[in-house]
Symmetry: C2
Subunit: 393 residues, 2 copies
């Protein structure tokens, strides 16, 4: 048997393990110091009551013959898909239920969608980037090219005529930079993709952090996107489902390459290689869309948004260039005094006991940048901001 040799080419990242090691060492050497972690990429607030009530009620249903659920539809129950379609409708996007596929999270589908594409496609990713886009394509042996996201384009690169790419990754609001495309910018990508018969894989996992109605929460807010884009979204950040696992993928029926409908291909892929998301979890996700559920998740999102604003405000006060902080849980800042990412990491840990993530860990263009997140507690974030305020003077 021949193994898939492409696995030899996947770069090993030591980003978070190195961060962890440095923090542990510092804490062991300085037991009296309070270290505040603003590098957290996971939610910290619990599921809202609406959701846990629904999860418990569905669990109870599963214990009785009359209300038990066996195999469900691989693409998700209609009760949930209808709610997701309504959610899109509230943002002026019309989708049919059979264009929505419930998943166990965006990460799974972002990886598995590649099953639908030939190996011989050129993949375009921004640099810096969420490593999964690169690793999943490296595993399949695809050629990857990079487009520069940097200070000169406010970390929102746009296509140009010389670009040749078949599969284009866009994450907006972006991880790690927090930068958000506006409609005009996203329209340029959609036009580029339609003109060149490229496909856009649009990662909308952070759309729930957008507060400005003029910014696109979905790529389907852009005319023409249904013929060139697949969108991935998730309950992870929206409703704290990182450990509960539910998301969805939109594959429009208008998405046809040659004679092949990607919608039909994905349906076939999912019915063959997936068996649907737990009924219980889908009932929990459904509760997110009740009026009470929306109210409860908004409280949590506001909590994170306020943390983000506190961090962004102190950076603005001290004239530090950054993206994100609004419309995003991430704050991506330029290290002061042209410090390198890891030097700033050490400096910050040693002087004000704040932990973040060195930007260079996300790509070459991340060098000299640093990522902070809003997922810590309000109290710790406030204290960290006070420390930064003094330190940056």
């Amino acid at each position: 048997m021949k193994v898939n040799e492409n696995y030899k080419n996947i770069a090993q990242s030591y980003l978070f393990s190195t961060v962890g090691k440095k923090v542990s060492e510092y804490m062991a050497a300085n037991p009296d110091k309070k270290v505040i972690k603003l590098g957290i990429g996971d939610v910290t607030l619990p599921l809202c009551k609406c959701v846990t009530d629904a999860l418990k009620s569905a669990s109870e249903e599963m214990g009785h013959k009359e209300t038990f659920h066996g195999y469900g539809p691989e693409q998700g129950y209609d009760f949930l898909k209808t709610k997701i379609a309504d959610y899109y409708k509230s943002h002026d996007v019309e989708l049919d239920n059979d264009e929505i596929f419930v998943s166990d999270g965006a990460k799974s589908d972002i990886g598995n969608i590649l099953d639908l594409f030939d190996k011989d496609n050129t993949v375009l990713v921004p640099d810096p980037v969420y490593p999964v886009y690169v690793d999943t394509n490296t595993m399949a042996g695809r050629k990857i090219i990079y487009i520069d996201a940097n200070e000169s384009n406010d970390f929102l690169p746009l296509p140009d005529e010389n670009l040749k790419a078949d599969i284009i990754y866009i994450c907006s609001p972006n991880n790690p930079t927090g930068a958000v495309y506006n409609k005009e910018q996203l329209k340029k990508w959609v036009d580029f993709a339609n003109k060149n018969h490229s496909i856009i894989l649009f990662d909308a996992a952070y759309e729930c952090f957008i507060s400005d109605d003029n910014l696109p929460r979905s790529i389907y807010s852009i005319d023409g996107a249904k013929t060139c884009a697949i969108e991935f979204c998730s309950f992870s950040k929206m409703a704290g489902f990182t450990g509960t696992r539910c998301g969805w993928t939109v594959v429009p029926k208008a998405l046809v390459f040659g004679e092949m409908s990607l919608n039909k291909m994905w349906l076939r892929r999912q019915t063959t290689k997936f068996n649907g998301v737990s009924y219980i979890v889908q009932k929990g996700a459904e509760a997110v869309f009740t009026p009470e559920g929306q109210k409860q998740i908004m409280q949590n999102l506001d909590y994170y948004k306020q943390n983000a604003k506190m961090i962004s405000d102190v950076l603005t006060k001290h004239g530090i260039y950054h993206t994100g902080g609004t419309h995003s849980p991430y704050i991506w800042l330029k290290c002061p005094n042209n410090m390198k990412s890891w030097d700033f990491f050490d400096y910050l840990l040693n002087n004000v006991q704040i932990v973040g993530t060195p930007g260079v860990g996300f790509g070459r263009n991340g060098e000299g940048f640093f990522r902070l997140t809003s997922f810590g507690s309000k109290e710790n974030t406030k204290e960290a901001v006070e420390r930064l305020d003094k330190f940056l003077k």
Copy 2:
């Protein structure tokens, strides 16, 4: 963008839709007749109380900051992996926790495991076969060859010297035939795989139906299996998790091809393209392994086993050749009077109002055979058996 053209080669199966259509038509034309469905491939008994209690308790945990769980380990929580390892130990198989990967069900992992293998491998599947083995490899463009499972080998084909295969699928107890390999037979496959550097993908989804301690519930009961086999198992049939979604995959650390550890490759695959199973569901699965949980699931399994025995007994009484019925929820019978599968289907539906699945739907060698299942209610199964008893006279 070039799509994966292999999708054009996937055969469309109309097996279950044709069955459904014929049954609906018959029922519409004969509203006074009671049709009994023994074609059901899904469990019908609810989750046991131990499990629903654990699901509810974990749901409650998720609603409080102190006990909330965010992202878990992609490969599953140790609390569950330890229980799975103990389960293997009770069948004299020793596994380390990091050889066990918790999944959202066997079907996902049976499909996704193919990521680890080069396209240029020859795949061996038995005929008749569970269609997923064929379809997932067709999607990847691999060459598929078939080995005959038929009456002459009691639907348990064995390797011979002329066979050249890199990836070998074995499902035991088998779907659709219910046939179970004994240790000597399985040893022949293990020896063959080790000698030829092939890999065995062992589908153990029905191991919980084995009642004879001398029959292997795991391929790792066979000496040498850890250097040639990956095993897939599931809570679906064991504990009624078809709609709850949890399973596991074993990738032994001794499984090394060239310099590549398949265990490390799968870990990398899962950490990149998967985000773990819901914490809540993993807590439900853990409860299956409590003494009370084991007692409760055994009651359900016994219920299905008794149904299977009733069906098997009436066939034996009338001298009808069949496999399965013991150690399996499936009964695979030779159609009386050399009838073809679909003719027998029509005959059975029209004369005794029993619905099963035509064997030819699972492959060429299924022609002239028929699958019944034990997942119906005891009352209906009993009534169906009485009808069969009269009919077969």
